[in-house]
Amino acid sequence: MPRPTAPYATTRFVKRIRMTPLSKNTPSNNDSSQGQLPIVEAAGPLLEESLAISRRRFLEAAGFSLSLAAMSGCGRAPVETALPSPIQPVGAIPGQLQYYASTCAGCPSACGLLVGTRDGRPLKMEGLPGHPLSSGGLCAVGQALPIGLYDSHRLTGPLSAGKPAQWTTLDQEIVQTLKQINEKQTAIRFVTPTITSPTLKANIDAFLAPFEDSKHIVFDAVSSSAILDAHEQTHSTRVLPHYRFDRAEVVVSFGADFLGTWISPVEFTSDWSTRRVPSEQVPEMSYHVQFESRMSLTGTNADLRVAIHPQDQGPLIAQLTEKVSKLAGISLSEPLSPNIVDRHESALAELAQRLWNGRGKCLVVSDSQDVGVQRLVNATNHMLGNYESTLGLQRPSRQRQGNDRDVEQLVEELRAGKVGALLVADVDLLHDLAGQQTLVDAIDRVPLTISFSQREDEFATLAKYICPDHHPLESWSDAEPVDGLISLAQPTLQPLGDTRSVLESLAAWSARPTTAYEALQTHWKEAIFPRRQAETPNQFITFWEKSLQDGFIETRGAGTVVSDFDTSVIKPLAQQTTTNDFSLVLYNKVSMPDARHAHNPWLHELPDPVTKVTWGNYVGVSSNDARELGLVDGDIVQVAAGNEAPLLELPVLVQVGQHDQVLTVALAYGCKGTDRFAKIGPQWFEARPTVEENELVGKNAAPFVEFRNGTMQHTRSTVTLTKTGKRRDLASTQLYNSLEVPPEVAPHGAERREIVQHTTLAAFAKDSHAGAAVHHHETGAQLWPEDHAKTGHAWGMVIDLNKCTGCSACVIACQSENNVPVVGYDEVRRQREMHWMRIDRYFTGEGEAMSIDHQPMMCQHCDNAPCETVCPVLATVHSSEGLNEQVYNRCVGTRYCANNCPYKVRRFNWFKYEHDDSLQNLVLNPEVTVRSRGVMEKCSMCVQRIEAGKIEARSQGLPVADGTIQTACQQSCPANAIVFGDMNDTESKIHAALENPRRYEVLEELNVRPSVSYLRVVKNEDEEPHRG
């Protein structure tokens, strides 16, 4: 007898959650969003009325009445069996994946999310196809949400003074204190990171309204405050423009890692990549220049990457502005920068010309936290006519709202003891403001401190009350990432603990108790529905249902008033003092956008797209500096800012391409409680702990963040570097980083391996096959006749290396889909990471001529697979559809197949990887075997998805339509770089991709005939490529 599945298990829950599946089976059907599935009220009227009773009571009552009815009939019906799944989940078929359209809450970008649930368990996060911003992509952080949901270390209920408490008593106490605060008219401060949810924002405002001195402070740990401030000055509205990289033919970025971490990376990657597809007919693509001091993911993908010192960023922007203004015929009264950097004069001149030629279709962005510099960026974009073309201000972005001035003010208020109540949601104030001394004492003195954190983070430990919020997958919410695009987030399972949505907490304390669902619907009825567009339903319920089913709805903008560009604010930059000391650049890793994800083991073990290092942060040092100082990877150094407190001891990572005299350290590490990962991974006598005793995963670099001129500075000049003589090896998944073999062992004429093939746009325009490797081997002839002809399907994959940015979303997608275990620091250090999909990253050459490549690498499903012939027990065999299949049950673990794999994509289960945490195990995909120790595993091309797609097609009596089967990596690729399909289907996308002149196979000369092929990289450069 099937038990009622989880989301519908209690009546109380039914009221709070009404989930609407997007479509029946597959997320990929575009027509599925047209809503063949009617929304069914999950519970009937009976249940609506019996909301107050518990599940047990309900079952008792229902059972009793049913048994009565039965007894009156024949008098002996067994009661228990009379109640099969009384509340059948809507459209749920046991064991089948159901998708719910939602919104990702991993960061404020608010990408469209598809939550794949199975038997009431959210398991697989995917991008929402057709979402106007993310266009079906989802980043690694979004993919990794489920493991945070099933985290046994999350708080399961409210705490009062560190002890478990009841919501009712806690509410009473808080309401009491709030009343006193209101009476005394002391200040109340509500701190959150950027909130894109209009409902939550409105509710916070409503909650704060009765208080005399109240303020909602938006604190982004890495903020874009200067951009907003600059627009306040130049356009009189404090907004963040909506950047449109899909419209930009020339992109110039000064430090902004827009493909990796800056504002809305999935959206930007998706947009940027649409401009990176030169075809035979139209050999055109965007031109992307990156000036940066560290090596960012965006920099690795630029056509021209210029390493600059952080202190040169302002002057360079000023010089570019001057050059553009000259072209625009605007004369400036005085030079914009007192400091001149003449090293890049010619490059800037050429760039200015290119920008000018592409005016209205270009974009200049900067991550500078100097308002003056951002004003110049605005001026440049204004002169180039980019506003309302590549930068939208009429419908601005709300993805970063942080106001550093407010934060600075809050710190002062706290120190002055002026704050009566401090409420903090979704941000660890103490961790991210670790540079502010005496803040702990100041916060301790605040009469009422409430944390909404899901964990006992640094602030929460200090707070009087912890009112844990739901995990995003458990709660109702909405988001308006860009003015006029509003999306809904629906819960996909009943909260696992006794947690409560912030909306509900606020409602309870302002004496208007309501559920999050009601609060949301109310706000939508009042504020969102009136903004509806003509073509959207004009009945609220249909409007709501459509939004819920689609996941988002487009409405009219909220009416942002933007004034014309005020040229008077273009002022020269302030004089800088140049130093020869090290400058420290603080950044976020792609895998760790903020401290909230510090408890996510998938993200910790995700190799950084640029450095390939897992587990923890490190000090990036340029190769010249490392050589001078005699530093190698893993040497522990001390970074200090002057003689005062900030001090950091971290291992060194030597990063090529990083500017000399620059040190880089990632933020959002060293978070409280991450010592829980000390024993993650196999424990045997030689195993080194992932976290050393009394330490945490990484170190917190936030003490180096300082406030200057009203913004938080993520670069800090004048830091010192001292060797300590200690070492800790970095757990890196790639030890050799170049396509050129070491010179001392390089055969003549084969110094470089043509694994990633390149060409330039100029060469491509002349010959679309330019850049192909020349082989002296004939691979057309076969020794044996084709012994397994693939007459049915022939699955294959083509990856466009020109689109792929290396963002690594696919790595986590694969990990989530295929139950790839987390193995811990020591195993990664021993080169035993288990990821089925990896991104190879190569730095070849030096300086500005360096070519940086990302190459996703997984099982190539070779037709002449070297692994298949060597297995003594036939544990790896070829399918009739061209897949190379691994039979775990049969594998005895000789590892011969892995040795013989030229792509080294096979992964061996060296140990029995931990599966002890039964809550954590809920994250496992039941469709995929959890491998035991001693067996080999590898990419299966998501064979479970292929089979599900085939079964679905067969049940409908139709052939498998192209695009209905998507592999996990392909589904969430933000750049849409992966094409998968049936190569025998002449109408398919993959069939077209196979004809692409840029297509090549890696190690083609071995004649293993891989089913996966790649599209050559084309750099937008004029000259011929350096190498064949």
Binding site: W684, I755, R841, C891, V892, Y903, S932
Partner: protein, 475 residues
């Protein structure tokens, strides 16, 4: 024996025959002396030296057992392997021990067919060594598996799992057959050779376990002409059967590598190269053991400098073949124009594992060249040292082939390092423990020298025969 009788030396021709056929057994031993000398270690109490050696060997074995038990309990992860280097110590040890196991059959079968009389003093222990080495070797393919408890899946046994069968294309499967055949034939060959000697032991022993066991295993040997005739026919046939195995086993072991796609493995030279290497290492190990045994068990008259010198010559020739193979590999790599192949060999010589490569070249090619000098060949201590050096060199040869080829293959992104763990090192030590424990027990309980055969090469067989018959010795 027929041959020996044809070669009865005339007293006048002694000197000439000494030149033609040197004295193999010194000390003017009679057949009775032979029996007495060779049975002595079995009949007396073991010496302190033997006990010492056995306790060291057993300690090593015990350490190995602990290491392997831990490894099987925890997983292969307790070895230093990684996603790139999937084999290292395990298969190195396997190939090393299989190689050691080659000299035995070579000496007993091939040299028997070539009528090399000097083999009689060493063939028994060489065969025993073969057997123990193959047992050690056979251990590694089993313990190197991720799931060793399923090792029986490698056998083509009828099962109820539908069409589940083994992969006859896989060289690992060929290994299974090659090694098991070799073990079986070697064991049979060794046992057949033992039968006359077992009968001698039976006849000499007082009633007790030794007598009854020897009685059972000597299969009712009476020493009649008919028995001898059949025995020699069988021995000859088995020698003929075992001879191809000397070449086939290592040929097939080499195919584990040669049929793979990995540069540095994928080489057609491997079969002869591996066979020569195997014989080379086997001879070195025989020398190591013989030099110890003759000293410990006072067998100087049976294993003479002549034997050692002859084996040195054989070893030198094999060392030269191996050296030629090393050179050929480089030449072919350069000549082939295959950049991956060229890279692998440059990487061996100048890459991160160049120390291992140069250890191999010095131990296997350079140092053995000293054996060209006769005084050095006849210097027992020096030969002992050389034999150890060659053993080390040959172990490194397999290590170099396996690890340096794997650690840097096609995609530079996957290049990795390799460092063995304590568990791997202990397992290697344990395999030596197993080998020496078996060998020491063999020395104690079985005749280390084929008495019957040695008696056939004594210089004065007539006198010997008379004395033998008066004593009623079965041989």
């Amino acid at each position: 024996m027929a041959e020996t009788e044809q070669q009865q030396p005339e007293p006048a021709a002694t000197e000439a025959s000494e030149l033609l056929r040197p004295t193999l057994i010194t000390g003017g031993k009679t057949p009775a002396d032979v029996t007495r000398d060779i049975c002595a270690p079995m009949e007396g109490r073991p010496t302190a030296l033997w006990w010492g050696a056995l306790s060291i060997s057993l300690t090593a074995l015990l350490a190995g057992v602990v290491a392997v038990t831990y490894q099987i309990a925890m997983g292969i992860g307790t070895w230093g392997l990684n996603r790139t280097v999937g084999w290292a110590f395990d298969i190195t040890n396997f190939v090393f021990w299989v190689g050691i196991g080659h000299a035995g059959t070579l000496i007993s079968a091939v040299l028997f067919l070539f009528r090399q009389k000097w083999r009689t003093s060493v063939n028994r222990s060489a065969e025993a060594m073969t057997l123990f080495a193959v047992v050690c070797a056979g251990l590694f393919p089993v313990i190197h598996m991720g799931r060793p408890w399923l090792a029986f899946w490698m056998a083509p046994y009828p099962n109820t799992r539908g069409s589940l069968w083994i992969n006859f294309k896989s060289p690992l499967l060929w290994d299974v057959f090659a090694i098991s055949t070799y073990l079986l034939i070697s064991a049979v060959f060794w046992y057949i050779g033992l039968i006359p000697d077992l009968a001698t032991i039976r006849d000499r022993s007082k009633p007790g376990w030794r007598k009854s066991l020897a009685g059972i295993f000597s299969l009712g040997w009476v020493g009649s002409a008919r028995t001898w005739h059949r025995y020699e026919t069988v021995y000859m046939l088995l020698a003929g059967l075992a001879t191809p195995l000397v070449f086939s086993v290592h040929t097939i072991v080499s195919m584990d590598f040669a049929t793979a796609i990995i540069p540095g493995w994928h080489t057609t030279i491997f079969p002869p190269y591996f066979v020569a290497g195997a014989i080379f290492s086997g001879l070195a190990m025989v020398l190591t053991l013989m030099i110890i045994a003759r000293k410990v068990m006072q067998l100087e008259n049976y294993i003479t400098v002549l034997h050692i010198e002859t084996m040195c010559k054989l070893m030198l020739s094999m060392g030269c073949i191996v050296g030629l193979a090393y050179g050929t590999e480089f030449f072919i790599a350069a000549f082939s124009g295959n950049p991956y192949e060229q890279f692998v060999f440059l990487n061996r010589a100048a890459g991160p594992f160049s120390w291992a490569y140069w250890t191999m070249v010095s131990c296997n090619v350079m140092i053995p060249q000293l054996l060209w000098f006769r005084p050095l060949r006849r210097n027992i201590a020096f030969v002992f040292l050389i034999s150890i050096v060659v053993n080390i060199g040959m172990w490194f040869e397999r290590f170099v082939i396996i690890v340096t080829s794997l650690h840097r293959d096609f995609l530079p992104s996957s290049w990795a390092d390799y460092t063995p763990t304590i568990i791997e090192i202990t397992t290697l030590i344990g395999s030596f423990g197993l080998f020496f424990s078996c060998f020491l027990l063999f020395c104690r309980f079985l005749p280390t020298i084929a008495m019957a055969e040695v008696k056939g090469v004594l210089k004065n067989p007539r006198r010997a025969a008379k004395q033998d018959s008066s004593k009623g010795d079965a041989a």
